[in-house]
């Protein structure tokens, strides 16, 4: 075991898989010589060569389209989209081609592409560097959608994604690349070194895609969340001194409905939290699942804390971002509801 931040853990997952499997290649903007704007592929081109770590033109549709073709020809491409906000030019290739190729050819053709992309706010990135578009992808049959919340899961889930014959959109909450974030921008930054999930094995291991994790065990409320807000939920419940189940969804598609519904049946109260805008957000799918599976156990309406339904505003980031204060208010609403 060694200490890694999320960037190092993601880089290590690449390294482990490129070493084990010569068909793994990396393609994206600035990923090669420079090692990525967030450094997630740093050193890989020097180690594995320019034919396996390829700097791409600025054309996300081209990156994903070319990666699909490479995958059809036996490679296992990891395509980096520099920011999730830039993924839209590749949307048709993801939805119409990557997600459906296996289905439409009845399994004769498939392309095991992993699309990695940093997402989320809290970094003063404004509307073009802060979005959380995961629910746009969970709506598409044929792809898996994953978002880790810590270095250990990031590496294990990324290895699972690379090994998966199904395409995976792998969201990386960039606010927590360097350390967990409790949702209060006034607090000093912390590193992963003091967090148990900052301990990461150097070699190969996997975290299965499709398993949620109960990160805190309690009985007053269930908070279902993922990404950066896992840490916000933990700091909010600690500040409130309440006993909560906090579930890190980790994989939005496939979704581990058992872990979620077992917890909500136990606590009878549930708050869903995500950074993405509320309307038609992934929380709506979670809430529908919970009302169906746990209706007779619910003691209060399922609550949601989410980004407001506006574009991500640069100057008002801390009014927009569902941070610690909003999380506490959301928990209170659910706890106090009769």
């Amino acid at each position: 075991m060694t200490q890694m931040n999320m960037i190092e853990a993601i880089r290590s997952a690449h390294d482990v898989m490129m070493d084990r499997d010569p068909s793994v290649v990396v393609l994206g903007e600035d990923v090669g010589y420079f090692g990525g704007v967030f450094r997630c592929t740093d050193g890989l081109q020097r180690k594995y060569g320019q034919h396996r770590v390829i700097d791409a033109p600025i054309a996300e549709g081209g990156i994903i389209g070319a990666a699909i073709g490479m995958g059809v020809n036996g490679l296992r491409p990891i395509a980096e989209i520099q920011f999730a906000d830039y993924i839209y030019p590749g949307f048709d290739q993801i939805v119409s081609e990557l997600a459906r190729l296996r289905y439409r050819s009845c399994g004769e053709f498939f392309s095991p592409v992993t699309i990695r992309t940093p997402c989320g706010g809290g970094i003063r990135g404004g509307q073009t560097h802060s979005q959380s578009p995961e629910s746009i992808f969970t709506h598409v049959s044929g792809i898996k959608v994953v978002m880790p919340s810590n270095p250990y899961d990031a590496k294990g889930l990324l290895i699972s994604a690379i090994e998966s014959d199904d395409p995976v959109v792998f969201f990386e909450p960039k606010r927590i690349y360097n350390g967990p974030f409790g949702g209060d921008p006034e607090q000093p930054a912390v590193s992963w070194s003091s967090h148990p999930k900052g301990e990461v094995p150097e070699g190969y291991y996997t975290v299965p895609i499709g398993d949620a994790e109960l990160v805190e065990n309690g009985d007053e409320i269930t908070i279902v969340t993922y990404g950066t807000l896992v840490h916000v939920a933990q700091s909010a419940t600690a500040a409130m001194g309440i006993s909560a189940d906090i579930i890190d969804v980790r994989s939005m598609s496939p979704l581990d409905t058992d872990t979620i519904s077992n917890s909500v049946r136990k606590t009878g109260r549930c708050l869903i939290a995500h950074e993405a805008t509320r309307f038609s957000g992934f929380g709506a799918e979670l809430a529908a699942t919970i009302q169906k599976e746990c209706f007779y156990h619910l003691e209060a309406p399922v609550g949601r804390v989410a980004g407001w339904d506006t574009p991500y505003p640069h100057a008002f980031e801390w009014q927009y971002f569902p941070g610690k204060k909003r999380m506490i208010a959301g928990i209170r609403r659910v706890l106090e509801a009769e």
Partner: protein
């Protein structure tokens, strides 16, 4: 020039009721263009993108440096495949009109592109087709009955009822799955070719789009990636003059030929008579040799004409002159190859009639067989439970529970249980 800006709306040269007018097409006589060495620099062979490579002249003689000198057996084979392609299309059109299949698209008038290119490529080369490349499937050994069963969505359908008719695929034949979203296959071909080069193989990729879909971003992505990495790929634009009802000028074909689209990236372009089997074969072989030997991509524009409707869903008499095709200066590829073989003394009208009859019979036999596997109205039918297969390699549990629910509703006339 004037002292005001202006908006130019491209106008088709002729619309219904008007006299067909192809004066906008820049033609060149057969044999007029030099054939450069395959290692030529793009800048030295730009003439290939503005001229027109032709081998067959107006008297059906083959001439000039691009003459591939194929022996008459191979030319007769090419003719046979093209006639079969047309006979297949005619039958499938007819059965769509009879309500036996839901939809169809013919390649009428463009058969030379798929057949001559399939002949010039090697079996290990990968094809990323558009929806009018059925000739590739036929030439590469996909059975007519299998293509018909796909169109019927029946129990032998390679797509198990999931795809609109004509969206074939064949891993065996190395032909990618056809998409209804246009030009998406172009970057796939480039990525496939890049992988071939990464793996050190000498297989190349080829892909096809129409003149209309060159306007899609995917076309430009593909050209950029192909140029940047010098991918071993042949990128084909089948300029059949029409994108449903809009003529090629609406896709930007008025100012410069589509073959010139790659020049700014350093990709050589060849504008070829797409109705001339010999010229299509020769230019494809040139591009394939160049790609196989590290010379990178080539963009080929095939100047041809869409002889029929876009699909069974549109009526071309509503947007172009009825006799447009008959006036097309590059004619009909089947007729031209037939006349060439006759001029060469290797064919006759009688033999041709016999070939047409044979191909029609072959299609009839296949159609009879295909219907045994079911039609849209008569069984046997596909199991609808199979619609949940192949969405994922590793399917989520929700698909299995939805399959059960669908079957409950199907098996219980009252609508099954809720949710």
């Amino acid at each position: 020039m004037s002292n005001k800006s202006r908006l130019h709306i491209p106008q088709a040269s002729a619309r219904p009721g008007e006299k067909p007018d192809f004066s906008y097409l820049h033609l060149a006589p057969a044999g007029a263009l030099d054939k450069p060495p395959i290692d030529s620099k793009t800048i030295d062979i730009e003439y290939l993108s503005s001229g027109l490579v032709r081998v067959l002249d107006d008297d059906h003689e083959a001439k000039g440096p691009w003459h591939p000198n194929l022996d008459h057996d191979r030319l007769q084979q090419a003719l046979r495949w093209m006639v079969l392609n047309r006979a297949f299309d005619e039958r499938m059109w007819q059965v769509q009109r009879q309500g036996r299949i839901s939809f169809y698209m013919q390649a009428t008038g463009e058969e030379a592109v798929s057949i001559a290119q399939a002949m010039a490529l090697r079996a290990g080369d990968m094809c990323f087709p558009s929806y009018r490349n059925q000739g590739l499937f036929m030439y590469r050994g996909v059975k007519l009955v299998d293509m018909m069963c796909q169109c019927l969505s029946n129990t032998r359908d390679m797509c198990k009822g999931r795809q609109l008719p004509i969206m074939y695929h064949s891993k065996n034949a190395k032909i990618f799955s056809i998409s209804g979203n246009l030009a998406t296959q172009f970057p796939h071909a480039v990525g496939w070719a890049m992988a071939s080069a990464i793996k050190g193989e000498d297989h190349i990729a080829a892909s096809w789009v129409g003149d209309g879909s060159t306007a899609e971003a995917d076309f430009h992505h593909a050209l950029t990636f192909a140029a940047v990495y010098q991918a071993p790929v042949i990128l084909n634009v089948v300029n059949n003059q029409w994108a449903i009802s809009t003529f090629q000028g609406t896709a930007g074909g008025e100012q410069r030929p589509f073959a010139a689209r790659g020049l700014g990236l350093g990709i050589p372009g060849i504008r070829v008579d797409g109705n001339d089997v010999l010229a299509v074969y020769a230019t494809t072989l040139w591009a394939a040799d160049r790609a196989r030997r590290g010379g990178g991509p080539t963009l080929i524009e095939h100047v041809t004409y869409r002889g029929g409707a876009h699909s069974t869903s549109d009526d071309p008499t509503k947007y172009r002159p009825k006799d447009d095709w008959a006036s097309f200066p590059l004619g009909d590829p089947i007729e031209r190859l037939k006349q060439h073989l006759i001029v060469e003394g290797h064919w006759s009208e009688a033999k041709h009639e016999e070939l047409v009859a044979q191909c029609k019979d072959q299609v009839t036999v296949a159609w009879k067989e295909a219907q045994k596997y079911g039609t849209m109205t008569e069984g046997p039918f596909l199991d609808p439970a199979s619609m949940f297969d192949d969405v994922y390699a590793d399917p989520p549990r929700r698909l299995e529970s939805q399959r059960r629910r669908m079957l409950e509703v199907e098996n219980d006339g009252n609508g099954g249980s809720q949710s």
